[in-house]
Every structure is written in structure tokens, then in C-alpha cells.
Subunit: 468 residues, 3 copies
């Protein structure tokens, strides 16, 4: 009958009737543009195998730490949800989810999920409750068994044009190649070079990872020189297989280079497990600089997102493994940390450095001033905890006075949850329309200019910044 | 005739007519619910003695450092206001207050005062001026001499259901017991265990406090072991007398435990006044951990509010004593500091840790991610300088995307100013209605769900989080 | 025919029709008040010589690092714009500017420029494009050649009443004297004492600067004592020539004093270029304290604005010199840093210390609590990167709950761009009206009180805070 709330055409638009009119027109410019997703965490094999999703829990709950952490905060054991190394009864997990569905009210995850339920699966989320859990489980099971809910069919329905994955430097990228060569599959699925596991000496697998890296790509060189050589080689390999960017989840934003002798010395200590915490940090900072240096040659866009305490709950880490919802942000600083890198490479417009943060305080204070001067520097879209409606509005408000609209990365969904992609991009487009409509209403922009800007933000920015 | 501004039914609600309608309905759900005040600074003796308040200045000005600091910033000597160890001519102080009343425009204190003047005392605050000072003083003096303005009568009128006080660990809690046993008195007045004066080695009274503590509750044990034993015993004593929480105003959020030998060694140095600043800080951090450990046994809710430079003006401290308006917040961090404590105890849903802050930057960056994962962890309501209309709105906006509405503490008035309690709680309820109405207007929540949420925030949250 | 967007009478006012009505009335109270500019960077010689501006590029682009950094971020070489030590073809630079004009959408600079184009030069900025660049260059060239576009005529047209410049302590202030004695010239043009180049040992010219200072004003004293004596003398000289304030761009807000022997020892090391970074920082902190001490005697208002990494791009600094758009803010703290200074001098209402920041996080956390207690302390208006429409609104929202409206400095344009002054002040007045109108609409202020406040903010505050 009437449109349910979740599909209201004015959702996320400003409440003021006059401003809302403007926002509607701006949204119409971009709502149906293709999806460009230059940073995310899907598995490319999904599109090669093109299998039906196994069950609602495996699709929507167990692998999504945005969802499971909300349930964990309510006291649910992650093991009951099949998180990490555990497995669960999917229907029982689904009942838990439905029982706790009200907890998602107001959250970013809740908003994406409700959009996904309605627009992807045809289920009104306002129906979800403990009582309806089994019915909805059955309905969803039925829906995802259909051929047109397999990954490739959904890609077409979602309007997916570009999708970047995040990959280990030693990945053979065979799935990416297979997809690129498949004339029946149209989205570009691009690998992303993510070398974190090879630069953090304090991680247990550092020695093994680095040894494999040098052995397989060092071209006979050894030690620190072999390590640098191997990283360079693998970057070129990624680039040849479609990669446009290299992604770096560093501890902080320090980019102070070390001279080769010092770096080599620390590198050897790191391999023996003898590097101090300070040495490991200095080495990681040196590598941030070195990766920027490599980008000068191979042209890969460099994305940097420091500032997260990984696996904060030791208890949960030991039981469930990493990426299980307790990575916690901490205070970050970029101005001092990036000075060595930017002073050396920041004036090169061909170099693209995208700076992400979860510490919102750096937007107006550091990132906007940096991206408002250095031609290499871009402000990454709000990410992770702040990829959220109000925070996205604050982001635009924080940077625009200094950078205008030309120095941000375009939206990044950063997701492991395939079916949330349309909701996430749609949310972002609505927030951009919301923000711009206010500037038009305040006579700070003409509506014509705002229409150009929203198309640029949604479509041209990610292509330009990620060299697509 | 017409309603004065201060009593306008739409005060603090959104200006947009459509959103305001929603907010009105949401507010109606909670405006008249009883007051639950799980953290504050009233003296329980007040309800036992039930004496009339002495004069308007002693009631509204001298003891309220929120008020006196505004006057101090305008150059008024605190001695003229009877602050701390001084006494004053109450009528003269009142005239100063009235003369400077316009300075309170836009402040949180000003808003509470004007609500209080009108709704508690029947005085339109827009009348206040230098010229009317004496008249208003006389009117107020007359009003507060009435029997129905004594503390107990006001408690009924305010709808006070629960009121927590803040008490010294060696307090005999006789007033609390008397009130609990008084069948004529209905509010629950609960003590709160506040051991700060026993953990900060850098305070002059540390040695005396600790010696008295061990002597009276150490059960014959001595040294650090006697100290821990005595704290445990006093916590149980508080619990037996109705306490539900222990409150900790630490310097920072560090919670790194010390082994017993190190802790004992520093403890002895501290007693001799020989601990270094770093040792004192390490001891305080150890005690944060130890208090969390004690909560595992006795179940007291742990509230933590670090990050305030106490007695910033040395000059004023020497003349007027502590709590005289120049405690100044500084930058805080929780992610690293609390990792030892949360990694050990944070996964226990029966443990409740409420994290307060005056540094707003930690809401989206640290507190929401922590409370959005750890079942033990709750985000404390905005407190002290940020217990303020706009800041309360920013608080909801900062945490909701990550935590939803289920991980915050409920409102805390934290006040020494008895008659401001209804205004403070009413303000909070209006701000919640304001925030939620926007989400409804943006189709992010159904109005039905928003109505459930506001009742939960105002009534169920504090009961749940504080185990009432 | 119809009013162009840039001149819309409701620009920057709230979109809600009811609130906008209030904002219009509040704005009308102040829109035409004279301009009081107590901190800026114009050259007083401009008013003495009263020459026509040479060309549009030299007037609007080359010297304005707010403008050139936007173009630099788009990859334009600063040399093509005549920045710093370079010179350029002004018409070619103008074409570059017009071609990139859309990049300024949404920026503070873009807003000021468009106001300036229309209200000062009569050009509709929505006409600006690559195609119209030459036409507009010619029109502007014609306009600025007119006698009534010379500096003195514009001062009258702008309604300039007070204008402070920023001057080297050894400046002879002859231009200021000439203007003060010129009965044909009405604005007060006041010098400001800015001793940064004499306190930062890490700058290359420190030794030369200090030697000249002591030689010319030390009255025969030498070393550190001669240095202090000379600074005192020059402050009095400035004061005699109309100065009301001394301005300090320190690295951070540390104000810990050194004893004379230590200060003298570091001073001598600094002169030899042998001071360590820590010693230089300690000396700078000591001087922050000493300047506050000097203010107790001479009464100069002290303005402090720490927290900027100067000349971040080494490459650009070597080629173009300082002040070329790559000074980048970093995280700041005031509570601990200023404690020595405020504890000693902050209780003196005759001492005025205005605290500026580019780190917005300190407004609610530190600056409002400091200015909300210490009678000496004022919160500086948003400055530099955050002198921007949305940030100005956030500023009021961040401080008002604690300080009300009486503890901020009044607007500071801080500009090198003469013709942007009316636009900057008008912007500020509109934002104040915007903010206040919301408080009236929410029944937090009566409209009558809001009208008093806006007049106070725009007119009385700067006079009071800067002792004009």
C-alpha cells in the first residue's frame, strides 16, 4: 500500500521543506549512477564461482564485524554467531539477531541493513522481531537460493562498475585475471596491494611473511635490499593485473625515512624477533616513506589509514582471531608525521596520497590544510566507525571551507558485506545531497553549481583520485 | 497572561515546524517520568534535617561553582560571593548576581537557573536586573521560608525517585541509613563510594587518609595488603548501605596493573611522601585496575571520569580551597589507557564500567567503539562543562552511529544545586526529543520506535546501567 | 534585474523561514556598523602612499596565500602566480585563476572573493570562467584605476574605524605616526608588537635580530637582561604610537618560566646557535611568560596563537619563501601549558590574554573553561583555516554553554587582502545572526536580549577586549 518508511524517497534528506526540495533535485542527478568502489574487502573468487549464498546468517551476520560487535555489546557470545574461527547453528544465530534488532536503531549498520533488507531482498525491516525470526529466515533462504541473487546477477543489479579488493602482496591474482578475461563479466574487479603484514615487525608472522616475500620476488637479492626489491616487483605485478592503489594500515602517520644502513640493521633484528618496539615503529615509518617513493615510479595511488588499536580485547583475539569487532581507534596526528613524506613527494601532482582517518578532529585541523595545499594529497572519505550519516555530514562541514569539493577521495565502502554496497553508496549520495542543499539554501552555491559538484563527488572524484 | 519565554512548551525543541511536532510528541512520553539521579553531590543530611534553606545566596550562588565562575570571569572577587572558605553579605552578593545576570545568557547554568526561577520559585527570570535585585531577593526569601520549599517537600514535587550522593569511603553512612529506615521518606538516597582521596599520592592528605583507612577497616593487615583489604571492606559496607556504584575521578584513563611487590614498594614511598610523579601516576593506574577487579566481586558499577586539571589557579586555591570553579579539562585518551582493564574485565556483562569524558573528541573516536563492543562498557552522558544543550546534541550525534541508543548511561545531573535538578533532567529530556525527532523526520527511525527509545533513555537506561 | 545570488539579502542566514525572519532582524542591528579590525596584516604605507592598486593579480592573487594554495592544490606552480619571490605575467595568472574558479566553491576564500567581486568591484562572480577571464581582467583593471578605488577612498567606503597592523619590534612606526597626525585620514591604524622573530632560537636570523634589538634598545645592558630591557622598551614605544596589543605566534602554549640564570645560559647558547631543540622550546615558553609579565606593566593586550607547523613543504619554502600556503596546524593543548602564566596573572582583570586556536577541539575542552573562569582570559575568534562559515557556527556552539557571549574576542579578520575586509566582517555578522536566531527560535534567548548580544559581539566586544 503506502511506501514503508525504509523506502521513503526523502530519507536522509533535510527536514526543512524548502531545503528538501533542493536536495531531491540534487539527489536525482546521481542516485542512479553506477557504483565505483575503489576500496573494499570482498573476495574476488565469489564472482568466479558465482555460487548461491549459503544461508542468511553466513551472508549477513557471521562475517560482518559491524553487526556482530553490536550483538557482542549486548552480551551475546560471538561463538553463537559463528564469528572468526567458530561455527554456529545459523538459524539460532538468526533468532538472536532478530531478537536484538531494535539495538541497531540509529546505527550505521542498522540503516544499511534495513535498506538491504528492503531494496535487495524485498523484506520490510520494520517487521523484524523475535517472533518473525523464523519466517524471515525462511523467506531470505528462499530468496538467496534464486539464480538472480547470485553474485554476478547482483553485480548487474547493483550497477557495479568498479570494485577493488584488498590483497596480500604474494597473492597470485588468478581470480582477478580470470574476471578480467571473462567477456561475460563486466565490472572491473581490481586488486589492491596491501603490505601491512610485511612491515609490522611486532606481528608473529613477520619473519615468515618476509622470508616468503624475498624468496619469491627478491630476484636473488637478500636482506633489506631483497625486501625492497620484492615489494617493488610485487607492486608492478599488481599493477599489471589492474591494481590502481596500494593500501596501508599503519599504526601511525610517521613517515620519517631511515638511511639504508639503519633500516637494514633494524630489518635484520626484526627478522630475529629482536627489534624493540621503537625500532619496529621506526621501520614501519621508514616503509611508509619507501612506499611513497615507490609510487613515484609505478604510479599506484597510496592510501593511508593509521590510528587503530587492533585486537583490543586479548581474550576475544585468542578465541576468535582478528577482525572480530574490537579494533579501537585512537588519537592521530598527521602534520608532523607526514612532513618528511610530503615535503619530498607532496608537490608531485602525479602522486596521489589519500589520507583516511577515524579521528575526526584531524579533518579541519590537519587533513584539509594538507589537501588544500599539496597537489598529491587527498582527504579520504569517512571510514569505518565514521562512515555514518551524521559523521559524513560533519566531514563535509569540516573540510569544505578549506578544500572546497575537489580534494576528497569520493566514497569508499570498505566493506566485507556485499549486499550492503548499494545501501552504502546510496547513503553517501543522500548525505552529499543533504549537505549541498543547505549550501544552496544559504545562497553559498547556485543550484546549478551544486548539481555539477554532486556529480563530480559521486562519479568523477573516485575516477580521478584513483586513476580509474 | 501569555506564557513567558522561559516556560514556552517548545523550548529546546527544533525550530522546523514539522520536526517540532514530532519532538513534542516524543517529549510527552517522558516529560513527567520520575527523576532518577544516579550520580550527584548533594548532602544526605539535608533530607534528615529538612531545614529551610537559609537565604537565596546560600541556596543558589555561593556553593555553585558553575555560577560563581561566570561571575569570577567578569572580575568579581569570589570572596564577595561567599565561595569556599569565605563568607559574604548575602544580599550584596545577590545584587552582584542580578547585575551580571545578562552574562548567563546562552550558558547551561543560565538556562537551568531561569527554569529553576520560574518552575520552582515562580519568578520570571526575564525580570532580573540590578534594579529588581532587592525585590527578587525578598520574594525568594519569602518563598524558601515556606514549609513546602523544604528539601523533603521539594523531593516529592520534583518527582525524585532515586538520588545518589558521593561519599568518602570512611563515611559512616548514618544519614543514608536513617533515610532508608524512614517510612515517611520515599526517594531512595544511595551512597556512592568515591576513593580518590585515598589513591592520589600527590595530595597532601594522602598519608593521613590512608592511615585512617587501614586502621579502621584493614582488619589487622598492614601496608598495601591492608590498604586493599580496607578498600574492599568499605566497598562492601557501602553496598550493604545501598550503594550501587563506585566513582573514580582519576587523572587519566591508564589502567595498567602493577605486580604486588611493585605496588607495595610504591605505596610505602607514597606514604613517606617520597613517590615520584611517575610512581604516583603508576599507582593510580594500578588502582583503577584494582577497583575494576573488586567490582567483579561486589558488583558495584564503576564510573570513571578522568581528564581534569584540578585547582588550576594556585592563587584561588590557596585562598578559597578546592571546587571553586577553576578545574580545567585537558585532552584525554582511553583506548590505550583502558586496554589492560577492558581486555581483562570488559567481556564480563555483569561488570558495568561507565566512561565519562569532558573531552568531546573521544566520543566518536574511542568511547563509542569501546561501548559498541565490550558488554561491560557504557558511554557516560555529557558531564560538567559539556552537560549543555548543544553539547548533548553533539554527544548523541557522535555516538549513535556506532552504539545506537543502548550503550549510554542515561542522564547524570552531577549537581550540588538541589533546586536545579528538575531543570537539568527536563533539559536532557528535551534534547533527547530534539535529537530523536530529527531522525524520525529523516526517516531513520519510525516514530513508534523513537517513542520506545526515549522512554528507554530516560527511564530504563539509568536503572539498567546503574543496577537500580 | 533580479538580485544575483551573491547579493541575496538572506545569504548565510538559516534556511528555516521562521528562524530566518529572526536572523534578518538581528542582522539589521549590526550590518552597517563600522569595521573594527584589531588584528591584521596590511601595510600601513598603503594608506600613506595611497597609490592605485597595480593590477588584479597583484591585488587579489599573488599576495593571498589563501587563494594561491587552492590553485597549488590543483597542481598550478606557485611561480606562475607570482607568489613569494617570483614574479609572473599578471594576465596569464588571472586566466589560471578564472579557469580554476569553480574549485573555490564552498571555500571561505571563494565566499569572500565573490562578495568582494560584487560588492567592491561590481562584478557578478557567477560570470567568472576561462572564457571571460580577459574581459574581467580588463574590467577590474579599469575599476581599480579609478581614484575612488584607492586605499583611502576604500577605507571610507568600507566603514573602517580601527585597523591594527602587525609589526616588527624594531619598526620605527613612522607610517603609523604619519597617519595618526593626518587630519584628513580618519581610521585609527594601530601597530601591533610581534616579537616572534626574536624569541625562536631555531630560526636562522635569531642572532642577527636579537643583536640589533639589544644594540638599539637595550640601553647599554647586554645579554639576557639587555634583551628583556630592549623588548620592554620597544613595547612602550609601540604603546606610545598607538599599539593596544602584542601578538605571539608561538610553537605551543607552554608558559613555564625559567629562572634568570637558566634563561640567560640558554640565551647565550641560542646566540651561538648551540641551543638544543628542547632548550629553544623552553626559552620560547619562558618568553611567553615574560611577555605576560610585561603586560602587567604596560597593559598591552596579549594575543597568543600557537600550533602551526610553519613552512611544511621544504621544497616550496626554499623556492618561494615563507607565508606561501603550507603552514599546517597541529594538535594543541592549553590547559597544562598555560597553567604557570594563568595561575600567576590570570586573576588580574586588567590583563587581557586572547587565546586563538586552529585546533577546534580545544574550544569546549580548554578555552571555554579557561575564559569562563579567569577574568584575564578571552577566547579568540576562529582564525585562519577555521575563519569559515560552518566553523564559526561550531565555535559559538562549542563555547557558549560555558562562557556565554561575554568572553570572546570579537571578530578578527587577520588578513593581507585589503578588499576582502568588508566581506569577512559581513560574513561574521551573518553567522552571529544565524547562531543567535536559532537560540531565539528555541526560546533560549529573548529576541530583545539577542539583539543586545549581537551588537555587543560586533561592536563592544572588540573595543572592550582590545582596550580600544
Amino acid at each position: 500500500m503506502s511506501t514503508p518508511r525504509v523506502a521513503h524517497p526523502d530519507r536522509l534528506l533535510p527536514a526543512d521543506p524548502g531545503v528538501r526540495e533542493i536536495a531531491r533535485r540534487l539527489l536525482a542527478e546521481v542516485e542512479n549512477l553506477p557504483i565505483i568502489s575503489p576500496h573494499g574487502h570482498l573476495d574476488p573468487a565469489m564472482f568466479c564461482h558465482n555460487e548461491a549464498f549459503p544461508d542468511p546468517t553466513a551472508l549477513l551476520i557471521s562475517p560482518d564485524h559491524y553487526v556482530t560487535r553490536v550483538l557482542r555489546s549486548a552480551g551475546i557470545d560471538l561463538g553463537e554467531l559463528g564469528v572468526g574461527r567458530t561455527s554456529c547453528d545459523p538459524r539460532a544465530a538468526w533468532r538472536i539477531f532478530c531478537q536484538h534488532w531494535p539495538l541497531f536503531s540509529g546505527t550505521a549498520s542498522g540503516y544499511w541493513l534495513e535498506q538491504e533488507f528492503y531494496h535487495v531482498f524485498g523484506i520490510d525491516p520494520d517487521r523484524i522481531s523475535e517472533d518473525t525470526a523464523d519466517d524471515i529466515y525462511d523467506e531470505l533462504s528462499h530468496v538467496i537460493a534464486q539464480d538472480d541473487f547470485r553474485p554476478r546477477a547482483l553485480a548487474t543489479r547493483f550497477g557495479l562498475e568498479v570494485l577493488a579488493t584488498t590483497d596480500d602482496p604474494l597473492d597470485d591474482l588468478s581470480y582477478h585475471r580470470a574476471l578480467a578475461e571473462d567477456s561475460q563479466f563486466h565490472p572491473r574487479v581490481l586488486p589492491t596491494f596491501r603490505p601491512d603484514a610485511y612491515t609490522k615487525m611486532y606481528l608473529p608472522d613477520f619473519r615468515d611473511n618476509v622470508t616468503r616475500l624475498i624468496d619469491s620476488a627478491g630476484e636473488g637479492k637478500t636482506g633489506y635490499q631483497g625486501y625492497l626489491e620484492a615489494l617493488k616487483n610485487r607492486r608492478w605485478f599488481f599493477k599489471e593485473n589492474g591494481a590502481v592503489s596500494a593500501d596501508h594500515g599503519t599504526h601511525d602517520a610517521n613517515s620519517t625515512p631511515l638511511d639504508d644502513a639503519t633500516a637494514a640493521r633494524i630489518f635484520e633484528k626484526g627478522l630475529k624477533g629482536e627489534a624493540t618496539r621503537d625500532e619496529a615503529a621506526a621501520f614501519e615509518a621508514n616503509m611508509t616513506y619507501r612506499f611513497a617513493e615507490m609510487s613515484q615510479d609505478d604510479g599506484l595511488v597510496m592510501t593511508l589509514h593509521p590510528g587503530v588499536y587492533r585486537n583490543h580485547s586479548t581474550t576475544a583475539f585468542h578465541r576468535f582471531g582478528p577482525d572480530t569487532g574490537h579494533d579501537i581507534p585512537f588519537r592521530m596526528e598527521y602534520t608532523n608525521g607526514l612532513q618528511p613524506l610530503l615535503s619530498q613527494f607532496g608537490e608531485n601532482p602525479a602522486f596521489h596520497l589519500v589520507l583516511f582517518t577515524i579521528d575526526e578532529t584531524v579533518y579541519s585541523r590537519e587533513l584539509a590544510p594538507l589537501a588544500g595545499y599539496y597537489p598529491a594529497c587527498y582527504v579520504g572519505a569517512p571510514w569505518w566507525f565514521i562512515d555514518e550519516i551524521d559523521a559524513m555530514n560533519r566531514f563535509r562541514s569540516a573540510i569544505t571551507g578549506t578544500t572546497g569539493f575537489s580534494r576528497s577521495s569520493g566514497f569508499i565502502d570498505d566493506t566485507r558485506a556485499y549486499c550492503s554496497i548499494p545501501a552504502r553508496h546510496n547513503t553517501s549520495r543522500r548525505v552529499e545531497a543533504n549537505y549541498l542543499s543547505r549550501l544552496v539554501a544559504e545562497h553559498r552555491l547556485s543550484e546549478e553549481r551544486a548539481a555539477d559538484i554532486i556529480v563530480d563527488l559521486v562519479d568523477a572524484s573516485p575516477r580521478r583520485v584513483f586513476k580509474l
